[in-house]
């Protein structure tokens, strides 16, 4: 057993390599074989999962990895002043991420055998999923910024491919483009930040950076802050923080397994993971770190306020994801790597579960997405309903479900580190979260059935992965519970170990707020004691703003059309008239001059000789006036 742990520790590169092998096999060999393609993907990704378990086993035996991760790499390329390697970095954080990513990838692949059955792009789907899994895993074990950026971009590519999976739908194509372009804005900032890291700090390697960071911070604090801010722009895009959150809700155009895997559990947390990896950089730039915290807190509240009025099931879940990502960023911003990573893990469990359950419902109802057109689904789809309820309880933060422990951890550290304003905001957001989640549950799964729908329960291939995730959503939080001696917080941390304490006031308030939210939702949508429509009318402008996502998309479209296209038109004019004008002007000047000068060529030898000798006379005169003629003659040369 220990041999296996050691093997996986030193062969961690296999973990991204195996799904990539699956991608190659499916894309270049198994295009027509549906069963074989699915089996290949599931087997190879499952093997990566087993390897990641081995790594966890190895890490648990080596506490020294917390401070000093194991890094092994090969040189990729080098030139004067720059040396870049590719390799594996293994510590507790990456072990946790590997576990989560491989587990959810495998479960989603199993689920997809049921969900995507009958779809004519079945093998293409599994090829893309495998490629995505391998890219995300490569990102997790990256040793330096450049390797991380390479896989960051690959992950973005896979997201584009998978969002636009139903390429025959215009909305899907547009959503894929929007996702790619929005994250591109973030990637640009990240790239500038990475280049600055290399140019000013001399190395992009995470371990080297963490060693040298205190010295850098002392010498050039402003520079470090600037770099931190630029690097953070990448996560703003990829992890859907305000204002680059706009792509996530539209990404729901992709199939539900994609939403579960990429836009809930793995890709969107790449930004959070990047901040965690580069935590040394942020830890010495307190202004940037505070900005991260406030932006995260604001995003959490902002997204929750939109989710309250949305009608499509997956959109509600999407805004919920943005909101929870905000929580994770906020946790990093207030200085707790532990809380953020813990919430990342539990959120992966219950959000993936909820997306898969939503997919199950949508699959059964053949595409009706509006929850108000559903109702009473628990009668015909008991398992799906149960799983969705489990996920909702988890996200609301009711103990002993997983979400309670991680959300409580975040709230505790926020209050503990003095960010009282953020603490209140986060608590209110928790209340709103519970409310809109159960609004969705009560409206879609309970109440009166809609006569037009003919739902049926999903097959075992879809239910089994959900079951596993449901189990993890219930018990998965125990690893970080405060009464454990060396729990999650011991292994995943930054800095010295603080034994976690259980704060009854924080926990009690959050549970109370969660229960209040659930009750309110039950009142409005469960028993319909209070009419939701009258509430919407009373809210008036707030309702309109929330329902229309605060018109941010419209604002961006306006910016695009007026400002970006406007600048484009100006530059086009400059290009046509000034740049081309110069070139064409030079050409026409040449033509004009040559038209005039050609008359110098008379063809008469004596004219040429005349010019020749006249020039000689002129040169002699000039050199004579300048006095060089006398020097020439004095040295004994001839005058002619």
């Amino acid at each position: 057993m220990v041999d296996f742990f050691n093997f996986s520790l030193y062969h961690a590169w296999l973990i991204p390599a195996l799904p990539f092998l699956a991608f190659l096999l499916i894309a270049f060999g198994l295009r027509k074989e549906e069963k074989a393609a699915a089996a290949t993907a599931i087997l190879l990704t499952g093997s990566s999962f087993v390897l990641s378990l081995g790594i966890i086993g190895a890490v648990l035996a080596r506490p020294e990895l917390i401070e000093k991760p194991i890094v092994y790499s090969i040189r990729w390329f080098s030139m004067a002043g720059l040396s870049v390697e590719m390799g594996c970095l293994v510590d507790a954080v990456s072990a946790m991420m590997l576990f989560v990513v491989t587990l959810i990838s495998t479960l989603v692949m199993i689920y997809s055998t049921g969900y995507m059955q009958g779809d004519e792009g079945f093998t293409r789907f599994f090829a893309y999923l495998s490629l995505f899994a391998s890219s995300m895993l490569g990102l997790v074990i990256a040793t330096n910024f450049l390797q991380l950026f390479v896989f960051w971009e690959l992950v973005g590519l896979c997201s584009y491919l998978l969002i636009g999976y139903y390429y025959y739908k215009v909305s899907a194509r547009e959503a894929a483009k929007k996702a790619f372009m929005t994250t591109r804005v973030g990637d640009f900032g990240l790239l500038v930040g990475i280049v600055m890291v290399q140019v000013f700090l001399g190395t992009m390697n995470f371990v080297e950076l963490s060693e040298k960071m205190p010295q850098f911070a002392k010498e050039a604090p402003v520079l470090i802050s600037a770099i931190g801010l630029l690097v953070f722009i990448g996560p703003i895009g990829k992890s859907g923080q305000f204002p680059l959150h706009v792509w996530l809700p539209d990404a729901m155009e992709g199939p539900s397994p994609v939403s579960a895997l990429i836009h809930a559990a793995t890709m969107v947390v790449a930004g959070v993971y990047l901040v965690a990896r580069a935590f040394t950089l942020f830890a010495v730039a307190p202004e940037v770190q505070h900005f991260v915290a406030y932006l995260g807190g604001f995003t959490a509240f902002f997204a929750a306020s939109i989710a309250v009025t949305q009608r499509e099931m997956k959109r509600i879940l999407a805004y919920s994801t943005v909101s929870q990502l905000g929580y994770m960023m906020m946790a990093l911003g207030v200085g707790s790597l532990t809380a953020s990573m813990f919430h990342l893990m539990t959120h992966a469990y219950f959000k993936a579960l909820m997306f898969l359950a939503a997919g199950s419902a949508l699959h059964a109802l053949h595409g009706t997405a509006d929850i108000f057109k559903m109702g009473g689904l628990y009668r015909k789809m008991p398992w799906t309903a149960a799983f969705m309820v489990i996920g909702a309880i988890a996200i609301a933060g009711i103990p002993p479900f997983a979400g309670f422990w991680s959300k409580d951890e975040i709230l505790s550290v926020t209050k503990l580190h003095g960010f009282t304003g953020l603490y209140y905001l986060a608590s209110i957001t928790a209340f709103i979260t519970a409310f809109y989640m159960f609004r969705m549950v009560f409206t879609a799964f309970f109440g009166k059935e809609n006569a037009e729908n003919h739902p049926h329960e999903s097959p075992v291939s879809m239910l089994a992965p959900m079951g596993i995730l449901a189990a993890l959503s219930i018990v998965g939080g125990i690893v970080g519970a405060p009464f454990l001696d060396k729990g999650f917080g011991y292994w995943v941390r930054y800095g010295p170990y603080h034994v976690p304490e259980f704060h009854l006031d924080v926990a009690g308030t959050s549970v109370f707020l969660a229960l209040a939210g659930i009750t309110l939702a039950w009142l409005i949508y469960g028993v319909k004691k209070v009419s939701s429509d009258s509430l919407a009318q009373k809210a008036g402008i707030l309702y309109t703003l929330s329902y229309n996502k605060y018109y941010i998309d419209e604002l961006y479209q306006w910016i695009n059309k007026v400002i970006v296209d406007g600048i484009g038109k100006v530059l086009y004019w400059v290009d046509i008239h000034i740049v081309d004008g110069v070139i064409n002007g030079l050409a026409s000047l040449t033509a004009f001059l040559s038209q005039r000068f050609r008359y110098l060529q008379t063809g008469q030898v004596q004219h040429y000789a005349l010019v020749f000798f006249a020039s000689i006379v002129l040169m002699l005169l000039i050199s004579g006036i300048l006095g060089t003629a006398t020097a020439g003659i004095q040295s004994g040369g001839a005058a002619v």
Binding site: Q604, Q606, H607, L610, F613, A614, I616, V617, L620, L621, G624, A629, T630, I633, Q634, G636, A639, V640
Partner: protein, 170 residues
């Protein structure tokens, strides 16, 4: 008359002849007359060489420039006579003004340079006859130039024959 005075007299006389015949060669309307004046100019230049103690060179000048080249030129004149304007040596109206101007200006500049120049003059003559010295140099240090000149003459001869013959032999 002292040697100096005789030398000066001869110099001025011969120089005058050179220049007058040169001017005549360039301005006479009859081309054949101009060619003959050219020959006279060459012959008097031989006299200048004698004044400069270059006796062998004077002989060569008389042979080549006094004998071969005027014959060539007269042949050329004869063979290219235009039936209309017989023996006419016209002036190019377009360039005559500027041409004479440039020539005069060049002369002025050369004289100016000559005036300003400071020449290091050594008057002692060589002991050996010039022909011995020339022969020693030509067949010693400068033998390659000598050979090349021979090749050049060969090439010129072949070229002139080919050109003057005109067309390929069938």
């Amino acid at each position: 008359m002292s040697n100096e005075a005789l030398y000066s007299l001869l110099f001025y006389l011969i120089s005058f002849m050179v220049l007058i015949s040169a001017v005549a060669a360039m301005t006479m309307r009859n081309l054949v007359h101009a060619a003959l004046m050219l020959a006279l100019s060459f012959v008097t230049v031989a006299g200048i060489y004698v004044l400069l103690h270059a006796d062998f060179l004077a002989a060569v000048q008389l042979l080549i420039y006094g004998g071969a080249i005027p014959v060539l030129i007269v042949f050329g004149v004869m063979l290219t006579r235009t039936p209309g304007n017989r023996e006419s040596n016209p002036v190019n109206r377009q360039t005559v003004l500027w041409g004479s101007g440039v020539a005069a200006l060049l002369f002025a500049v050369l004289m100016l340079a000559l005036n300003k120049a400071d020449f290091v003059v050594r008057g002692t003559l060589a002991k050996e006859p010039s022909i011995e010295g020339i022969a020693r140099l030509m067949l010693g240090d400068f033998v390659i130039a000598f050979e090349v000149a021979a090749v050049l003459l060969l090439a010129a001869m072949i070229g002139a024959i080919v050109l003057a013959r005109g067309g390929e032999a069938k």
